[in-house]
Amino acid sequence: MTTTTVHARTVAQFSRKKITTMAAPVVILAYFAYIFVSFDMAGLGDRINLNNARTLVSDTYSYKTHVAQDNRDGSVALSIEGERKAQYPEGMAPNWVTLGEVTTVDLGQGHLITLGPQVRYEIPGYGLVTARPGDDGVNAVFPVGDLPDFISASKNRVMIATDAGRLTITRSRAEVFKYNYGWELFFFTLDSSYYGMGAGQLLSHAFSGEAGAIMEDFWTNTMWRHGDVAWALFETLLMAFLGTFGAAIIALPLAFLAARNFTPLGSLRFVARRVFDFLRGVDGLIWTIVLSRAFGPGPLTGAFAMLLTDTGSFGKMFSEALENVDDKQIEGVASTGAKPLQRYRFGVIPQLTPVLLSQVLYYFESNTRSATIIGAITGGGIGLLLTQAIATQKDWEEVSYYIVLIILLVMSMDTLSGWLRRKLIKGDEGGH
């Protein structure tokens, strides 16, 4: 090969390389262009609802209190987030509301609202808005001039949304929203005698023998339902635990059937492998539906669905691990005249345990996540609570609460499984 040919060849080789290296990104970009069109990404701008995003974010760190007057009978009801179960008992109100002949609501920063036959809102820097709702409409009176952006008014409806809060007046109702930071009623609901107590006060009550009652009020909190949430979390974990370890126990013996070096009979091996493929291919989602006919909704159904899918995954992985075992150890044990079961026990299992344990523990963590989804479909657990809370699109603080709990649960399972892996696999288990 002369130097000139080397030059020519190399230059040619580089132009080929140029093309191949350019081809990959070009193909990827073309695919994304196709996705952009087929997923209608351009229309995303129209569809995106920033208001929703804002609600979501603000709801996660704040709550609103509704003060609603029924214009027909003049009754006033106060509730957190407008929910019945979070209604203030008769005569009870937060300190910024004064109940009486007329109800005054102090939104702060000089914003003062009076509810009564005539509804008044003093807006600093704008002026006084009054309304006299009745069958003929809202009858609102505004300061002279154009209506500012924060007021939307029609004959039967007036809405004033300021930084301090919101007032909506219709013929039948006049409602004030006041926004506050935090997750209200997280510990106790309004009907609990412990509502509004500080930590010190609670502690002194706890020490004077009310610890049980305090716990009971917290646990059965109808807004946050801590008891149910705890059970739901536990059910989720339970599904993952039963599904993963149950599958491992079932898959281990079956994997021998699918391993070339342990099942010389090709047809048997073929059947075993296809069974694993089927179990995996059907997917936990469909198993959940299939099984819920037989077992009904609940964690057992979810656990079995996961167990079936994972039996497929483990069967495949275990049989691959079995095909990779080192024959020398088996032969060493066999040469002493060991019986077949003993050969498996000492020649195979010790080699297999680290691989299996690490796979099983990895799945345990990932199944904690899957259990959330399976729960959402039928089983129960935190997944159902979460999806229902999201479907309602109202209690975003609960949604964030559940999300935080799920992340904490999954991350702690991740840590636990990592710790167990290190402990069990690297640690000296000597005789085993």
């Binding site: 020398k328 150890q329 060493g332 066999a334 002493t336 005249g337 060991a338 003993q342 345990t353 005789g431």
Partner: protein
Amino acid sequence: MLRLENITKTFGANTAVHAASFTVDQPMMIGIIGRSGAGKSTLLRMLNRLTDATSGVITFDGLDVTALRGTAKRNWQSQCAMIFQQFNLVPRMDVVSNVLHGTLNRRSTLSTMFNLYPDGDIHRAIDILERLGMAEHAPKRAEALSGGQQQRVAIARALMQDPRIILADEPIASLDPMNAQVVMQSLRDIHEQDGRMVIANLHTLDTARRYCDRVIGMRDGMIVFDGTPEQLTTGTARDIYGADASFSEATTSTQIETAEAAPKMLADIAAQ
């Protein structure tokens, strides 16, 4: 005692061992030599029944070993311990457990499943390890040991079987010269002190000469030499290893070299 008659083993078209016959009348230490692929391993594996002979008969004290099946075959295996070139221990288990595997044939399957052995066996295992200078390593995992130490654990496992015969398939091929010497000496001691028969495949002539009472030479599956180490001249060795004039014993030696051999070795290295 041990008698092989026309033992043959074919793998497909390939004949690994071809009509091998020999008789051993009393426990002795026998070395089998021959180059790679001569059929040494296959012969030993047929003796232990890890591999079935294609034809021929092996008898031991009148018992037809080749005909054994099931439990009887496993009992024979426990009588006829095997030591491997790669040790074939269970690396993740501790040394004593590995030695105790020598008793598997005698114990019920169920009790051994949970790694439960009688205390007496454990004591005996440690005594055997002690004899091989390995007692202090008893609680370690096998994989934590050096090659020479692992091979001694394998010998301890063999001894634990309390066998009539010990078969060793190139027990020192993966070991450095120091460890090789220790292991071969252990096998020799076992033969001399316990009166067990030892049959060892050996890669190198000098080891066979130094430790064995009898040497069998194999070539292309056939036994081409059977005699005392003294009868094993360089000429015969050349026959066994293939008639190549460049044959030099030094290249198969595992002894720790003396100074005069060095320049040649160095030249070999430089020539590579």
